[in-house]
């Protein structure tokens, strides 16, 4: 007998979001007529924020009570933390939106952000292949639309098309991988798949399925060599969409895959703790991580567009996050979650600053950030915190994320295997990272503004969002145990 009450209880956050999205659309139809786009966006964002707040309460209410409906959903501490994390990041994005984005259909923008978010929260708790795929596609399809939401700019359309085509291919890969897994094991639920794999001997088909899934994973995580969409999307998409794609979507994606890989495919993990590595998905993930770290950091050096620079830095961070994925088997998902969540905070913040500067005369090339410290000291101070957190400078959260992930990765096998050496490489590459982050900060804090650039007035809501994000980064940096202690 299916327990519908339990399902409803577990899915209340998603229900709040979907109802919220419908309310946003309805209210806009009802009250929006004759009002400016700015006013409509403000109203829609407010309702959206309410829906997010309700979803956060619902997530906390649903708690971490274990499996629901024969293991289709898993409500554990990771799921709860991720739900709250993605909702928080979406909340910040929505708070940033009014006054910093000029769109023609504000209610639809907010509604689609809410749909995407319900995809993210489902990804956080999905433990069954079918639901995982649906959640992922709900999120992805919403994000494709968000990337192309600015219909007046060809760059936005180009970004959406690239994102959609590559995303579609990766979805096909994933579905094919899932279907092979189902065929091999006869189950869709992750723990049962793991049991079935452990019993059966490893077959070539399983390896094919693994490769398919990892390709799709690489795409979602923007890990090299499947990263090509990221720079174009970050550059072309509306800033608010880019903020969501770079933060909440990353967090939900990594959590879904860490679940899929560790609780569903554990027997096929292989090993990277020693050099005579056992075949499995771990060596492949290690390859993706290494490639992302090198490519992201080195290509970022050559960027003159601040969004593309952030995109390549995101690829480098994806490499570090993959180290966290590999270490999650021993250290648990805590370091990975902490890293992804604080990385999301810093990215939302950085894109928030870009969005505000964008409204005051465009923000594409690095030199558009010149002299922010004169134009708006608040923006400069916030940007300093976000960028230094991305660079991993203490006492900001980004540093502890890196530190926790690297420490966890080194605990797996010390320097006795590829994982240890990858970690060392990641530590050294962070010095390269500091160079390009300092290039951003040099523009913002050292150089003077161009002659024709005046003061920037930061809308009150954006100010609140930026201060919140910066404050959280400092607070989580000073007290990382608040998050790390959850797991």
């Amino acid at each position: 007998v299916t327990n519908y009450t339990a399902i409803f209880h577990a899915l209340r956050p998603e229900a709040s979001l979907v109802v919220g999205a419908l309310v946003v659309l309805g209210l806009d139809l009802w009250l929006g007529r004759g009002r400016t786009e700015g006013q409509r966006l403000r109203l829609s964002s407010l309702v959206g924020l309410l829906a997010v707040a309700m979803a956060i309460c619902a997530s906390l209410g649903a708690g971490s009570s274990g499996e629901v409906v024969d293991g289709v959903l898993i409500l554990d501490s990771l799921g709860l933390a991720t739900r709250v994390g993605v909702l928080g990041l979406t909340g910040l994005t929505l708070l940033l939106a009014p006054g910093t984005s000029r769109v023609r259909n504000p209610a639809e923008l907010v509604a689609i952000i809410l749909f995407a978010t319900s995809g993210f929260t489902l990804m956080a708790v999905a433990q069954q292949l079918l639901l995982a795929f649906l959640a992922l596609e709900l999120a992805s399809l919403s994000l494709y639309i968000l990337a192309g939401f600015d219909k007046s700019r060809p760059a936005s359309a180009e970004a959406a098309l690239k994102y959609f085509l590559l995303g579609g291919v990766s979805a096909a890969f994933m579905l094919f991988g899932f279907s092979l897994l189902y065929g091999l094991t006869g189950s869709l639920v992750l723990p049962e798949i793991a049991r079935a794999i452990a019993v059966n001997e490893q077959s070539t088909l399983l390896m094919v399925a693994l490769v398919m899934i990892l390709v799709a994973f690489g795409f979602k995580a923007a890990a090299a060599p499947f990263h090509l969409w990221a720079p174009d999307v970050y550059q072309g998409a509306p800033t608010i969409s880019a903020a969501l794609i770079a933060s909440a979507s990353k967090l939900a994606g990594f959590v879904l895959f860490v679940r899929l890989l560790w609780s569903g495919l554990l027997p096929a993990a292989g090993s990277v703790a020693t050099f005579d590595s056992v075949p499995g998905w771990l060596p492949v993930v290690a390859g993706l991580a290494g490639l992302s770290l090198f490519l992201g950091n080195f290509v970022a050096l050559a960027q003159s567009n601040v969004r593309r620079l952030l995109a390549y830095s995101a690829i480098a961070h994806a490499g570090a996050l993959l180290l966290g994925v590999m270490a999650a088997g021993v250290a648990g998902p805590g370091p990975l979650f902490y890293y992804a969540a604080t990385y999301g905070l810093a990215t939302v913040g950085a894109f928030g600053v870009i969005a505000v500067v964008e409204q005051a005369g465009g923000c594409q090339s690095l030199s558009d950030l010149a002299g922010i410290h004169r134009r708006s000291p608040l923006l400069a101070a916030c940007l300093l915190i976000f960028i230094l957190s991305l660079a991993g400078i203490p006492p900001l959260a980004g540093f502890f994320g890196k530190f926790a992930v690297f420490a966890a990765a080194l605990k797996v096998g010390g320097l006795g295997g590829p994982l240890g050496w990858l970690t060392l490489a990641a530590i050294f590459l962070s010095a390269i990272g500091l160079y390009y982050y300092l290039l951003i900060l040099k523009q913002a804090l050292v150089l003077g503004p161009a002659a024709d650039r005046g003061k920037i007035s930061v809308p009150a809501n954006a100010r609140l969002a930026l201060i919140l994000a910066a404050g959280l980064i400092v607070a989580l940096g000073l007290f990382p145990s608040v998050v790390l202690g959850l797991f």
Binding site: G334, H373, P377, L388, I393, P394, P395, F399, F400, F403, A404, F406, A407, L410, K411, G414, L415, G420, T423, L424, I427, F428, S430, A431, L434, Y435, L438, L441, K442, L445, V446, P480, S481, L484, G485
Partner: protein, 505 residues
């Protein structure tokens, strides 16, 4: 003693206040910065007054910070850290006095300056490597903005180079520390715990960990051939930042080598000892010769810093009680002297003549135009050469005697370095201040009474700062025991005794 952690907090609060005040009044920001630095210094002096020398670190604060990683917020001090804390307070106070003339973005300047100071205090107080590392990195970023915004010659290049070298060094340290932490099972970052665990590491592990950590710190201490950031960075930096960089920040590196790398990995030290010593000796002599042919006044001081820091590294490499205590003394001494020399060159001379080229300075009779600057530089130069009566003398002598006990060959070569130091210092004094008596030079003019009108007179903050530094170098020169009585007992702790050979001096 127990007030020492307040140095960090006071500096941070002062930084915030200076930043806020700077938006309204530059004067207020200056005074806030000066008061903050002075209070920090007084705290260290107060701690020094009731300090009871003894072996081992005296814990000041010890609370759990990140239990998941086994990190504790553990601050402690012994005679070595106290020496350097007093130096930091002195250098910070003097540095602010010498930046009294900063007019642009004053609040931000002093906020960054005080943040850097807070990081430095924190490093010297840390007894947990994680906390050590956090403070160490906090001290890195302000340097970039201080140099890139308020610097001079080639400042953006100098700033970036300096910060990337520092950060690459800290990445090496992080790698080594994490390796040791993971190899120990990931329980704790406490110095004492890791030192206890160090005995269980294989020799190969110790050699690798030591190499990473020592090299990482030695980059910041200016060890040859990783010293090139130092002259360019020091030259590009504004005066106060050069004073602090050469005076205190380079000591962070040496302190890290002494506090973290050496006691934790005895086998590593034994393996790398000759390499470090020879690199230190090459640094002493090579940087000395390079300083001898510089055309830019500030580059001479920049390279002289590298040369003098070579003595510190040599003292550490000799690894006996006397040499290491000399190295700590030299850290203090060089901190004071380098601050003094950079103050004269960067503030007193360059801000007035707007040139640092010897070919230009040669034509200006600076000893008559700026007699106070000339006097200060001569005193600083004598101290730097290691003349008796100044702090450089007991410091370098102790290092040389200590080194002789380990290897007479090293000591002989290093003694040669002292001659080179005398040569480049005397050349700098002669060419810059006493270049000519020819009155027909294009810049210099004197009226009938012999009064000079060209340059603004030396201001009171400059005089006060210079007096403080001169007094410190002479006091320690005459009574080095004051510091040695703190340092030597600290080296008697079991942690240090396991790596130091030779008895107490």
């Amino acid at each position: 003693m127990n007030a020492l952690p307040c140095t960090v907090y006071v500096s941070l609060v002062g930084a915030l206040l200076a930043l806020i005040a700077g938006g309204r009044s530059a004067r207020a920001a200056r005074w806030i910065a000066l008061i903050t630095a002075t209070v920090g210094w007084l705290i260290t002096l107060g701690a020094a007054a009731d300090f009871v020398p003894g072996p081992g670190l005296q814990t000041l604060v010890n609370v759990a910070w990140i239990p998941e990683l086994g990190v504790r917020y553990h601050l402690a001090a012994d005679g070595i850290s106290l020496t350097l804390l007093v130096l930091t307070g002195l250098a910070a106070t003097a540095g602010i006095l010498f930046s009294w003339n900063i007019e642009e973005r004053v609040g931000e300047f002093f906020a960054l300056f005080l943040t850097l100071i807070a990081g430095v205090y924190g490093v010297f107080l840390s007894a947990d490597i994680f906390v050590f590392f956090v403070f160490y990195e906090i001290a890195i970023v302000p340097k970039y903005f201080l140099i890139a915004t308020w610097g001079s010659t080639n400042r953006e290049y100098g700033a970036m180079k300096l910060v990337l070298y520092s950060f690459a060094g800290s990445a090496l340290v992080l790698a080594g520390v994490l390796w040791a932490y993971a190899a120990n099972g990931g329980q704790s970052f406490a110095l004492s715990d890791l030192a206890a665990a160090g005995a269980n590491f294989t020799a190969g592990q110790q050699i690798g960990m030591f190499a990473l950590i020592f090299l990482g710190f030695a980059v910041l201490a200016g060890m040859f051939p990783f010293h090139t950031w130092a002259p360019t960075g020091h030259v590009a930096a504004p005066t106060a930042a050069s004073m602090l960089l050469a005076g205190v920040v380079m000591k962070l590196g040496a302190y890290g080598c002494l506090r973290v790398a050496m006691p934790l990995f005895p086998a590593g030290l034994e393996f790398w000892q000759p390499t470090i010593a020879w690199l230190a000796i090459i640094g002493i002599i090579y940087a000395g010769f390079v300083a001898l042919v510089q055309e830019d006044f500030k580059f001479v001081i920049g390279y002289s810093s590298v040369s003098h820091m070579g003595f510190v590294l040599l003292g550490l490499a000799a690894a006996n009680t006397q040499a290491v205590s000399g190295a700590v003394l030299q850290m203090f001494s060089h901190g004071v002297i380098a601050g003094l020399l950079f103050a004269v060159v960067g503030r007193m001379v360059y801000e007035r003549t707007h040139t640092r080229k010897f070919s230009d300075l040669r034509r200006i009779p600076l000893h008559r135009l700026l007699p106070f600057a000339a006097l200060t530089f001569v005193l600083g130069g004598l101290a730097s050469m290691g003349m008796p009566g100044f702090s450089g003398f007991p410091a370098e002598l102790t290092i040389l005697i200590g080194t002789w006990k380990t290897s007479p060959v090293w000591a002989t070569f290093a003694a040669g370095g002292i001659l080179v130091a005398a040569a480049f210092t005397l050349r700098a004094i002669q060419v810059s201040f006493f270049g000519t008596t020819d009155h027909s030079g294009p810049v210099a003019t004197a009226d009938a009474h012999g009064h000079e009108h060209d340059y603004a007179p030396i201001t009171w903050p400059e005089r006060t700062g210079a007096m403080l530094l001169i007094a410190a170098t002479i006091y320690i020169g005459l009574k080095p025991d004051v510091l040695l009585e703190w340092i030597v007992p600290a080296l008697q702790s079991p942690l240090f005794q396991s790596i130091l050979k030779g008895g107490a001096s």
